[in-house]
Symmetry: C2
Subunit: 368 residues, 2 copies
Amino acid sequence: MHLSTSPRIRRSPYFESTVAAGATSWTVYNKMLMPTSYGDVKAEYDRLVNGVAMWDVAAERQVQIEGPDADECAQYLSSRDLSSMVEGQGKYVAMCDHAGAILNDPVLLKLSGGRYWFSLADSDMLLWCKAVAAERGFDVKVTEPDVSPLAIQGPKAEDLVAELIGESVRSLKYFWFSETSLDGIPIVVCRSGWSKQGGFELFLQDGARGDELWDRVAEAGRRYDIGPGAPNAIERVESGLLSWGGDTTPDSNPYEALMGRFVNPDIDADFIGKDALAAVAAEGPARLMVGLVIDDDGAGSPMTPVRTPIRRNGEVVGTLSAMVRSPRLHATIGLGQVKAEVVEAGHPVEVDGPSGPATATIRSLPFL
Amino acid sequence: MHLSTSPRIRRSPYFESTVAAGATSWTVYNKMLMPTSYGDVKAEYDRLVNGVAMWDVAAERQVQIEGPDADECAQYLSSRDLSSMVEGQGKYVAMCDHAGAILNDPVLLKLSGGRYWFSLADSDMLLWCKAVAAERGFDVKVTEPDVSPLAIQGPKAEDLVAELIGESVRSLKYFWFSETSLDGIPIVVCRSGWSKQGGFELFLQDGARGDELWDRVAEAGRRYDIGPGAPNAIERVESGLLSWGGDTTPDSNPYEALMGRFVNPDIDADFIGKDALAAVAAEGPARLMVGLVIDDDGAGSPMTPVRTPIRRNGEVVGTLSAMVRSPRLHATIGLGQVKAEVVEAGHPVEVDGPSGPATATIRSLPFL
């Protein structure tokens, strides 16, 4: 499918580098072009699982909250208890609407000076946060800062990032970060990234220096055999990582998306959707995100273009949102939302497999 | 540029029809695929300017506001005086943030039962409107209804739509509409569309019947030699139509975007950004959207991928956001934002033309 470009769709600070590195396909994420492949799906997967890969994920835009009411505002926008959060720490949070539907699943970073960054999935939370802050009268400034993450992912990422930034990165806990620089380029280095293979994200804080940072990482990475890649459709299904807006629908709540352990409707502080989420917690979610092992040897496409129905005895009981062939499991697997009673009963279901109608077994996540 | 598809990026109810009609390129607009061409740019332009074309513009999503406070809420979200607005009427409005920056430039429709639809450009105003309504305590329901516009544009559009819907459509004033049906398919027919060639939009109210509506229009349109098309980059520059997010930047205000006559900071009713907009009105905008006649015979590309600087004596005085070759003007023309003092002085400027650096003359809009 050919994509027309226009100034409406932004380019990342790493754009020229990704073109030079041979990017062959793209998506639009937060109104920004993001590479999805460099033409060799197998090599990209292998690098991520066995080596180290670098990804342009600048499209993970940040919403920055700063000012006297920043703590209260960040908490009001998040359905997770932030009371113990300290500077240098990140947390995976759900942002919900007043009815408890999940609007985004960012990593929230608490920076020096009491600033916060919501590091976003693909929905325009800048609009949401600005409206909430202004209408509620929080004394904060809400902006999209010039911050563009470059992910370094895979089992060899830590050695590479330690070589680039220093040995101290080895002691960073998951989602914790350090505000630092690399050759004078201001960055935040965080132990994070949209894979389960281990790794870091370098949050570039100067959009004019994207290609310089890319080159610096590529050069240092040469002895680790680094190569370009992108958030990987196969690995993310194996790891059960949520794609907000792909696996979720506009009415999904965080319990259905398996984020229940990050939702705290029992805290004293107020946050958006608190009562609605307390009700879901009490009743239990109506649907659950699950893994599916599909009885089909077909290769399928690594990218599932649309959601398809999941059926049991002909009745629709859910939707399938991703389907891939897992090299490590030697199986065709998928992600979907399925009615809770079907999940609990452990019933097999029917899906549209890569080769046609197929039986599927429900599995808890992650697969690996 | 190859676009990867995924369930995160929605498909229009007309998707299968547009593929069957030969769509060759696409954009992502409000997280939905929208065709941008069917492979024959010249034929698509000719049909729009001399005949009649049908466009899948389902990606113009609607935000619906309904409930006891709908009037007050719609006004609070719009910087235009809505006090005289009646059911059946539409108005072109700016939606601004609290600092007066323009967030979207929808057509607002007031429907039966006091409901409103904001028919949107490419920004997620559902998030904005939901946050504002909930935090301000308006007694309204804010939703994205199942509504997907199909545009019929060009000088022969009125004859075709009169044949399809009835002669009464001929008396609709600009942006006025009628809630009706076609072969039992519920639609709203509105005299509107993103061209200056005249035409209508059929707001389909049942996403399951998109292909049926498409076929019905194609069939009735045969004797008018109808063909598929898309919002046309060349015609829109000739006509000086704003592309929000393309021609505007996040800090643009509606005065800069030439929407000043639709902004009413002097009314009694409160709306978001009122004080900031009153200040801009008093001081005058710092920049202005203008037309540019570029001294270059090059064809250029109909799609300008990025904004480029506009200079005067080497100093940056604005940004060029679109550049096309106009078949009717036999000239290379563009759209840009330029500092007000340069516009007022009538100075020539320098741009990156299709064949290299070129002088450009500032022109008021529209060109045609």
